[in-house]
């Protein structure tokens, strides 16, 4: 380019070249700040929306905190997190269309599962074939992981764990209790109750009644009359928020003389306090409670998470929200370990994960016939008590090592 000399003084050319170089450098640094897209559907409407939205809040809190800290840092690059999400209407009909859309059109790098085991199974068919990693939260049913996947990773302790804690706690208090199971006829609760029934009998309890109800049930009079007639002293079961909260109310209104009531999912929601006295005494198997302290290897402490969550949403975190946050945290950790967002490498890092966070321990099964199943996480049993001012509070009552209060037995 010998013309330069003619038109421009040499020093200017030098300066311009330098400037250009700096600009390119800056730009490439800026490029390092590339976004990473995580896709998922939320049940904004439909039967699952209470539970699903709590999980969503967990995702949101994680994203905001990561981005505020400058994104996920791996191999010198940093990735800002952005979400692509749609409403699945609590219905699996469009789940595949939406997950395909997120993968192909929104170019999602990673995926979180929809809420509930049923929708997750449908989404998994799509994510698996594109080799996209999907962290499943709010989906405890285990069958999906036995179908031969490579890229599914379950954040929740699987279904058989749920009522085990409750039965263990019961065994310590009242080994002679007679037990009734009343549960939602849906993937998750069936997966929970089926092994729980066997476990109860194995523990020597007399199971006097067991019946499933349709997922959209609002009138439990008939089934509760049967529970009362069966003379059961303990009732275990439920399903999700909508049916569980109703069951809680109607048990109270009918003055069912039960010594212990354990319901799935519903009593863990911050909305449970709306039940007032009807909610007090009810137990819930929980993936996470703020009272259980764990020493996190990375991420926030339990107290920190609790505080940040309350500050952001002005509500108490549920285990659904903690699970949502933890899914992000574990993914972040794996990306950092893998040094990038290559799916195979991140999957490897997830397979190797055995970490303790505010959420507790997380480890995934790696055997092909159960790949991705959560094997590290353990559950606790929480029960609603009243504090001194008469306000309902949730306390951890089992295992004894983690307890923050004694199990109230009988309830009333």
């Amino acid at each position: 380019m010998h013309f330069e000399n003619i038109f421009l003084p040499r020093w200017i050319v030098k300066q311009v070249t330098l400037l250009a170089f700096v600009l390119v450098l800056l730009a490439s640094v800026g490029f390092c700040q590339q976004p990473i897209t995580i896709g998922f559907t939320v049940s904004k409407t439909g039967a699952l929306n209470v539970d699903s939205l709590e999980q969503y809040r967990g995702f949101e809190l994680w994203r905001d905190q990561v981005n505020a800290a400058g994104g996920i840092k791996a191999s010198g690059k940093s990735y800002k997190v952005q979400f692509a999400s749609y409403d699945d209407e609590s219905n699996s009909k469009r789940v595949q269309q939406l997950y395909t859309r997120m993968i192909l059109e929104d170019k999602a790098d990673f995926l979180f599962s929809p809420y509930s085991s049923g929708l997750t199974a449908t989404a998994a068919v799509v994510t698996e074939q594109y080799g996209k990693i999907m962290l499943t939260t709010g989906a405890a049913e285990g069958k999906t992981y036995t179908l031969g996947n490579h890229y599914l990773f379950q954040m929740f302790a699987p279904a058989p764990e749920y009522l085990k804690v409750a039965l263990d706690a019961l065994k310590a208090k009242d080994p002679k209790a007679t037990v009734a199971f009343v549960y939602e006829d849906a993937a998750f609760s069936v997966a929970v109750v089926t092994p729980a029934k066997a476990y109860a009998q194995q523990q020597g309890f007399n199971v006097v009644f067991s019946e499933a109800y349709a997922p959209n049930t609002t009138d439990f009079s008939a089934i509760l009359d049967k529970v009362i007639a069966s003379k059961a002293t303990v009732m275990l079961g439920g399903g999700h928020y909508a049916d569980g909260s109703t069951l809680g109310r109607q048990l109270y209104a009918r003055k069912a003389a039960l010594k212990m009531i354990t319901l799935l999912v519903a009593p863990d929601s911050e909305k449970w306090v709306e039940l007032g006295d009807a909610g007090v005494g009810v137990c819930v198997p929980s993936q996470w409670e703020p009272q259980v302290t764990a020493k996190p290897q990375f991420g926030p402490t339990v107290a920190q998470f609790d505080k940040d969550y309350r500050a952001k949403f002005n509500a108490e975190p549920s285990y659904e929200s903690a699970g949502g946050y933890a899914a992000g945290l574990i993914l972040q950790h794996a990306i950092e370990k893998a040094g990038g967002i290559d799916a195979a490498k991140v999957a490897e890092a997830l397979n190797a994960t055995d970490a303790t966070t505010f959420y507790g321990r997380t480890q995934f099964a790696t055997a092909p016939n159960e790949h991705g199943l959560q094997v590290g996480h353990s559950m606790v049993l929480a029960q609603w008590h009243k504090d001194k001012s008469g306000k309902p509070v949730k306390q951890v009552v089992w295992p004894l090592a983690s307890k923050s209060a004694n199990l109230a037995y009988p309830i009333r």
């Binding site: 349709a214 008939a222 909508a242 109703t246 209104a253 003389a257």
Partner: protein, 286 residues
């Protein structure tokens, strides 16, 4: 007290509310040959009407039935002029679709306003305890209210001029016109009353069970069953059929899993429809 008796009493209490809901559907069918597919949405609006009113004025929830009914009447008149009037006398498909369209819109707006989360009306009356079984005050009050409203409707239809005009139009619209009865006015009022009954039953349900904006659908289906058992277009029979259906549910549940109940109900529905199209109390008139 035995389980089966308790179960039957529960069935009876809830059944009368089913009956009330079905009366609305039946009245509209009887007067204008329209299967009102907004029924479920209107029941849901009744639930939310009660919820909102109870949030404004905390009083005995059952007193709030009156404003809910009044609002339902107005709403029904609006819906009639929006979607029903223009399809009267056209093929059934048209009225089915136009009412379903309104149903979609109401559910859509309701979902935006209330999402699909469950709501409760936090009002409870003391119940009656017999042995191990407790019948909640709300169930009893709802059943009594349903019967009172049903009787009031019956009195209106059989003892007042406008009520008789409605029956006349239902019986023979053209002849009613010849008597100087404005059938348009009567259809408007009858539709309004039908919707008012739906909202009233929704309001009663809301005092017993939690509800979402989608809850009306299940009660709409129940109303279909009850209406068919009573014989289409016979509002008086609907209450009785509702109570019978409740009793049947109550009598069956101790012996079979509750999940089989819908099969029995809808099986019965189809059989009655095919074998006794005039309902179980109906006689075959030409």
């Amino acid at each position: 007290m035995s389980g089966i008796l308790a179960s039957m009493i529960d069935g009876l209490l809830v059944g009368s509310v089913y009956g009330l809901a079905a009366m609305g559907l039946s009245l509209i069918w009887g007067v204008m040959n329209v299967i009102n597919l907004t029924h479920g949405a209107m029941i849901a609006l009744g639930m939310f009407g009660m919820y909102l009113l109870f949030g404004l004025v905390t009083t005995n929830a059952y007193l709030l039935l009156l404003p809910v009914i009044a609002a339902g009447l107005v709403l029904g008149i609006v819906v009639y002029w929006m979607a029903v009037h223009w399809v009267i006398g056209r093929s059934e498909l048209m009225s089915l679709l136009s009412t379903f369209a309104v149903n979609m819109m109401v559910i859509g707006i309701g979902t935006t306003l209330f999402s699909t989360s469950p709501y409760n009306v936090n009002f409870s009356l003391p119940g009656i305890t017999i042995g191990a079984y407790t019948f909640t005050g709300n169930h009893i009050a709802a059943a009594v209210s349903a019967v009172v409203i049903a009787l009031a409707l019956q009195l209106f239809l059989y003892r007042t001029r406008p009520g008789k005009a409605i029956r006349a139009v239902a019986d023979n619209r053209e002849a009613a016109e010849l008597m100087g009865i404005s059938s348009t006015a009567v259809l408007t009022i009858a539709f309004g009353i039908g919707i008012a009954l739906a909202t009233a039953s929704g309001a009663l349900v809301s005092t017993m069970f939690p509800f979402t904006i989608l809850s009306g659908g299940a009660y709409e289906l129940k109303s279909f069953v009850v209406t068919v058992l009573a014989g289409l277009g016979k509002p008086a029979g609907a209450l009785l059929a509702g109570v019978l259906l409740g009793l049947l549910e109550g009598a069956l549940t101790p012996f079979i899993a509750v999940s089989w109940i819908p099969l029995i109900e809808f099986g019965l529905f189809v059989v009655v429809l095919v074998a006794l199209p005039h309902g179980i109390f109906g006689r075959a008139t030409a």
